[in-house]
Amino acid sequence: MQNSLKKYFPIFALPTAAAFAIGFFVPFLMGIYLSFCKFTTVTDAKFVGIDNYIKIFSDKTFGHSLWYTAAFTIVTVILINVLAFTVAMLLTKGIKGTNIFRTVFFMPNLIGGIVLGYIWQLLLNGILANYQKTLTYNSAYGFWGLVILMCWQQIGYMMIIYISGIQNIPGELIEAAKIDGATPQQILRNVTIPMVMPSITICTFLTLTNSFKLFDQNLALTNGEPSNMSELLALNIYNSFYGRTGYEGVGQAKAVVFFILVALIAVIQTRLTRNREVQQ
């Protein structure tokens, strides 16, 4: 079969491969090369070595947005996963109306980041107006605004994954623990959590990368105001490209650093939690 199929390469594999080259592979390689160049459009690139990378360090906004993003990521990952897991635990106990609650909690996921940003801008600015402040009063307001928005959007999604994880635990396991006299806390710690470890791996992975790469919500909610202080990394990179002329090379170098950080986080996180999964 292999040989007869092989001749069909142009029909089966070529369209995807060609699109992949245009949509990802070539831009990726060009991106790495351009991070070592000075340019304003792709055609006038001049090789400048590691100049762009050095300039990143003198750009104070990048350092600030790196810490801002790191703090934001840590807070949202913990909050979203703890809350989503708690809600999932409660919604698998056979409470009346579970299906409706699940539907409601999941809904914000389908709404795009830009729309979400403006919805929450209205609500949060409305509340802050009572104290004569707005979301862009200082970067802490933008920070917690984004945290609330992210929780609202993502808890439902993670909850769905946790629910399916919890429902896959064999009932005998919990029964056996109960017969052996385990308290609910012990069951949670020694049976439920180890058994849903695969879901925890996935959910922490998704929340980590979603928070770290967040762009649309940040753009719509505060747009980095006041003066770039509520700028997450993705927006900072965007502004280096399109907000400051002559900084395209630096923007690309930042993007490379950003990519390496995302890759590192993804690899380390998967290693860490995978090791804790029980073999089944």
Binding site: M1, L5, G126, A220
Partner: protein
């Protein structure tokens, strides 16, 4: 595990009921404000649009005119539906090919797809938008190719996972009976792939429909806007935002999503779970 009735179940029902209401409150608030005269929206966001604050559908009329909402809706719908269809067709064929033909290309391409899933869009956004411009991919048709390329990683990966679980004998039997690879694929393999198709379609549709940055950079936005671009455009550079039009357009942007969600809820939730387990 059978469904156990929780003791004090009604307390939880009550708590979750209140929580659910709180959960949809932001959306309700936007709906309320979309009927309010624009000067009152930032001043009195939490009041009902009664008396002189009520403006009927004025905000909707002004908003749809300002950003050509229905034009944007058509573009969004066209791009999402076509891209998802093309992605499903092309990547499932490609995944079958690279799973069945063992070659350096197959292995290499599979790992490249895996790799592409962790690369953030910012890494390629500048070069991708320039390349798309050079290749004249700035129309709603051209962008389909860009989506196929950028979305290929996840789809190929998911289809490969499923293709591997299909017993080879089924396909070999079809080939012995005289099917060409194309017939084998469309009459035997593709129908088996249907559950994965639904999962991939839902994940990609959620992404493409809501995507802002990629179409903003790739499309010629003077001629074609998608809904997220049109909404961001309302914000514009100059002066104060027309809050009335903004609220009305947010409502119009949410309505199709909610209709879609209610209609396909089961598939969406299953798709998300299946996607997460494989990803």
């Amino acid at each position: 595990m059978g469904v156990r009735k929780a003791r004090h179940g009604w307390i939880f029902t009550l708590i979750f009921g209140v929580l659910s209401l709180a959960w949809i409150f932001p959306i309700v608030l936007v709906v309320i404000n979309s009927f309010k005269k624009k000067v009152y929206i930032s001043r009195r966001p939490f009041e009902l649009p009664l008396g002189k604050m009520f403006v009927e559908l004025e905000n909707y009329v002004r908003g749809t005119e300002k950003i050509q909402f229905f034009e944007a809706f058509k573009n969004s719908l066209f791009i999402t539906v076509c891209s998802v269809a093309v992605i499903i067709l092309c990547t499932s064929m490609c995944a079958w090919y690279i799973s069945r033909v063992k070659s350096a290309f197959s292995t290499g391409f599979y790992y490249l797809c895996l790799f592409s899933m962790i690369v953030p869009f910012q890494m390629v956004m500048f070069t991708l938008s320039k390349l798309a411009n050079i290749l004249h991919l700035y129309s709603p048709i051209g962008i389909i190719l860009v989506y196929l390329g950028f979305g290929a990683g996840l789809s190929v990966f998911m289809f490969c996972g499923f293709v591997r679980s299909i017993p080879l004998e089924i396909e070999e039997a079809a080939m012995i009976d005289g099917c060409t690879p194309l017939q084998t694929y469309f009459q035997v393999v593709f129908p088996i792939l249907k559950p994965t198709c639904i999962t991939v379609a839902i994940l990609q549709a959620m992404w493409i429909w809501n995507d802002y940055l990629l179409p903003y950079l790739v499309l010629d936005i003077k001629r074609w806007k998608t809904i997220p671009i049109a909404i961001q455009y309302l914000k514009g550079g100059y002066g104060s935002v027309d809050m009335g039009a903004m609220m009305a357009m947010l409502v119009l942007a949410i309505i199709p999503i909610i209709i879609f969600y209610i209609a396909c809820q089961k598939y969406i939730i299953e798709g998300v779970v299946a996607g997460a387990v494989k990803g």
